[in-house]
Symmetry: C2
Subunit: 320 residues, 2 copies
């Protein structure tokens, strides 16, 4: 069996922060990303891809609210499902152009979360449009939204970002990977659901971090490698200081210690390191944090390409 | 191997014609449909489900147009991909409640169409909002839309409804069916694409009939049976006349002859009969046209449940 990697790419890789999110932009960005992903496939990896959906689900939420007098707005978990269709389609088509029609497959993925996750009592993730104070108050009353003032530009809805516990479609994803498909899974972090005792999968209005979702998918399908693709070529220590320097190789224990020292800020590298450590504790072998253009070189172990965090005999946790 | 059926259900089964399309409505309707589908699964069938998306893609198109000053509207093929995510998610969750978490899987499906299909020079399928004449003219100029006056209520965009030629994800769908999954495939008729010589899958702004798409999926995965679920319990001959009577069993040759006699109008039973004959000519064994509530009885061959069109030794065409 060929080696198996899960690759996480941000929603910003499909709609850059200075773009409006038009089809032309998304299609061109997906083409660039697919070229890097197909390099991995050509190099002999089985590959699952987990994409983010931040800009796209934000746009969809605006469209839902603008038309609310004419068409009922769908709940957030449905918007997450819609962006899985939207971005899954553009990525499948872009990857198929390199790897052959039918090779890439997007599996609509639901991800279980714990209803007691502390994220539910402290929602932190802002999504969708800005509202003025009055309308924000109305929406909070009418729909039970939590809203907060955001960066001086108005009020936004905030939603919980809980930790993923289970990948509902894990068997289907594994079956497709084993059959040689490039699988798009848990797009946008997956559709968040609560698993009831009666078998019910109840949609939850939450947005799961795509790096955490990728770590959960990677552990569930037994991947050896997890690649977290980001805007920088590698992890930088003492970022923004005269002592700034790249970290190309870290043990999980070193990464944990640097995390404790406050080297990885919550809004940027912090969640990636947490996702990385979680995957390694779940039995993963290797996590690579790098940019799309260095993905293949980093996967091939070229020195100086990306940051590699590799399991050591001392790493706690294993795969059952 | 257990027998394999493809079931086509209309978008109206998820949003009835007198409903606005709220989440509550869609979820309740999906629950009713899932109970009927899970009856088939329990009875020992491998099942793939193809759902329509008419009301839902119409709503999404309205939302896109209402917000166009704030957010770029996505092309129709992307809206079709979004409704596959949306309706795939609600159906997966509803089926899993009966069959177990992870049993149902929605595969985002692209369906190839022939660029020379006559449907492209004569678009017939109205989608999305009504516009006044001036705005319709603007949209026609700006976006290359074809618009027509529709039922005295204003102008609407019309799109081609071409015949499906290939199911891009057919291998993945088959692999999942063989692994015992209930597969949601080609939702909304699939995302229509043109297959280029260079391997490119170019999105096409078209809406493929879901019964034709189901016939194509059924032939591609080698299903024996195709079930076309509709609002009536069975096919009626001489509909609306004093001679109206049910047709419970037809040979393909009889159905073809009745079609020639004008028994099946273009907007309702006509496409279903055409899809049925196409599937039987592609090697299918049996087509059942019935309501959701009679699905299981019809599948079990109970007399008087639904209309069964079964292959005979005289039926032209076979599976290669």
């Amino acid at each position: 069996m060929t080696p198996l990697a899960v690759v996480a790419v941000g929603g910003n890789a499909l709609t850059a922060s200075d773009q409006a999110g038009s089809w032309t932009e998304i299609e061109a960005n997906a083409g660039d990303m697919a070229a890097c992903l197909s390099d991995l496939v050509t190099a002999g990896w089985r590959v699952a891809v987990v994409h983010g959906n931040g800009p796209q689900v934000g746009n969809l939420a605006i469209q839902q609210e603008e038309a609310v007098a004419l068409v009922p707005a769908q709940p957030l978990h449905q918007l997450c499902a819609m962006t899985q269709g939207q971005l899954g389609s553009v990525l499948v088509r872009a990857i198929d152009q390199h790897c052959g029609a039918g090779r890439a497959v997007a599996v609509l993925t639901h991800v279980g979360v714990d209803p007691d996750d502390p994220a539910f009592s402290a929602p932190t993730k802002p999504i969708g449009p800005f509202f003025d104070e009055e309308r924000a108050g109305e929406l909070a009353r009418e729909r039970g939204w939590q809203v907060v003032e955001d960066s001086g530009r108005g009020y936004r809805r905030v939603v919980p970002s809980p930790i993923p516990s289970t990948v509902v479609e894990m068997d289907a994803i594994r079956v497709l990977l084993d059959a040689g498909h490039v699988v798009l899974a848990a797009g946008g972090g997956g559709v968040a659901v609560r698993l009831g005792d009666d078998g019910a999968l109840t949609g939850v209005d939450a947005v799961i971090d795509k790096d955490y979702a990728a770590a959960a998918v990677a552990a569930a399908v037994g991947a050896s490698d997890l690649y977290l693709v980001t805007g920088v070529d590698c992890v930088l220590l003492d970022y923004g200081t005269p002592r700034e320097r790249p970290a190309h190789r870290l043990t999980p224990e070193e990464a944990q210690e640097l995390f404790r020292q406050g080297q990885f800020p919550p809004g940027s590298m912090g969640p990636k390191i947490t996702a990385a450590l979680r995957f390694l504790q779940d039995g993963g072998q290797r996590v690579i944090i790098t940019s799309a253009k260095l993905l293949r070189a980093a996967a091939a172990g070229e020195p100086g390409a990306g940051t590699c965090i590799e399991r050591t005999p001392a790493t706690v946790g294993s795969r059952s």
